[in-house]
Symmetry: none
Subunit: 207 residues, 2 copies
DNA sequence: GTTAGTATTCCCCGAAAGGGGTATTGTTTG
DNA sequence: CAAACAATACCCCTTTCGGGGAATACTAAC
């Protein structure tokens, strides 16, 4: 049995969510709030598995709500259901600790139920559009970025270095001598105008 | 009609994938490769919507394959289907340009078909476990994360360390001796179970 | 009021990293 | 073809780190 709480100011959507949850035998609707204030005082006293929240709430943003609740309720998972699909809102929400983000616009009762189960089982339910945005942040800025000043081999060295490996471990992985790794690092430092590993990695990540 | 190519060295799994795709009226299996070499020469000449690839391939890693194909085939989407669930492999794959990552272990024909459609429609299909890992990288290091075990002073040290400062420079900034900084670092390493600066910063998410 | 944790300083020692060279082998590119 | 560069490997030397202690002082908790 999965216990659930809702925070949603739009009456129509909240009632819709409630009826969806009430219609499932393995879902238990423990509470339903119209605003963040009531939620933030009542929820920490309850033992809820999952909180489904809106982002635009009267008084407090959903991100703020999740951030605060997250600290008080370490065992509770948070999922946002919102109309907002802009980068700022999405990533701010994730940073605040939400483990799911689904868009209201194209959503079915079935998807909501699947998302709840997914979240409960350690997953991170996202609408396709959200998932795409999230994954896109990992994509390498291919060709011409600051990497371009570094050779292929030098990039490999930095990549391994960023994992915390020692010179000799990097040398093993790359199949070269420890001295070669050292030489690569020397050249990298010259090219990036830095003097140690951490400075190099900082420059590397930001170019 | 969605045109698809497969790169998978495991005969059983490749045949399984093929039959799943052949069984769908709106999916068209254009090619199926057992190794990366053949794929990398043949695929750029074909007009494929989606490439489903393994990671562990004979000769070349799937990440390398995707990276190279990605540059030559800007309109093709790549999805990985692998048994690997370690952070390194997952994020390396995403960096190389894959827009989907599903795990072989718990997978059904239905999920594969859904993933293909999702990908074709601009989504980013991920197994729940993968989605969770991806989303976790955005989480702010709040309450119960590595920071909580570190003292205020230790946090200050790490903060300065992340800028690439030397022990003696940190000591100056903090108004303590170089040996004190060293001692703080020793304690930090013990608490975080690491052995050097970069590993510590990685745990701390500061790098 | 003793125990636990933090902050501070110091010692020794060996390993790792950084800076200065030099040199060979390819590859690329005017 | 020469010049430039990437990759490889080695030398010497100094500095920085990391791990092992030990000691003092303060604070908080039990």
């Amino acid at each position: 049995m999965i216990s659930i709480a809702i925070v949603e100011d739009n009456d129509q959507f909240r009632l819709g969510l409630e009826s969806i949850i009430l219609g499932q035998k393995d879902l238990l609707l423990l509470a339903s709030f119209e605003d963040a204030e009531k939620a933030i005082t009542a929820l920490p006293k309850m033992n809820v598995d999952i909180v489904i929240s809106d982002i635009s709430l009267p008084g407090m943003r959903g991100t703020e709500l999740i951030l605060r609740l997250n600290q008080k309720m370490p065992h509770t998972q948070f999922m946002v259901c919102s109309i907002h699909d802009d980068d700022d809102t999405i990533f701010e929400t994730l940073k605040c600790g939400a483990s799911g983000y689904i868009l209201k616009d194209p959503i079915t009762a079935d998807e909501i139920i699947r998302s709840i189960h997914d979240l409960y089982n350690g997953g991170a339910p996202m609408s396709p559009y959200i998932a795409k945005k999230v994954i896109s942040t990992f994509q390498k800025p291919t060709s011409k970025s600051p990497q371009s000043v570094l050779s292929v081999r030098e990039n490999e060295v930095l990549e391994l270095l960023s994992k915390g490996l020692l010179y000799k471990e990097i040398a093993n992985k790359m199949g070269v001598s420890h001295e070669t790794v050292k030489k690569h690092l020397k050249n990298i430092y010259q090219k990036l105008h830095v003097n140690n590993k951490i400075e190099a990695l900082n420059k590397f990540k930001l170019l």
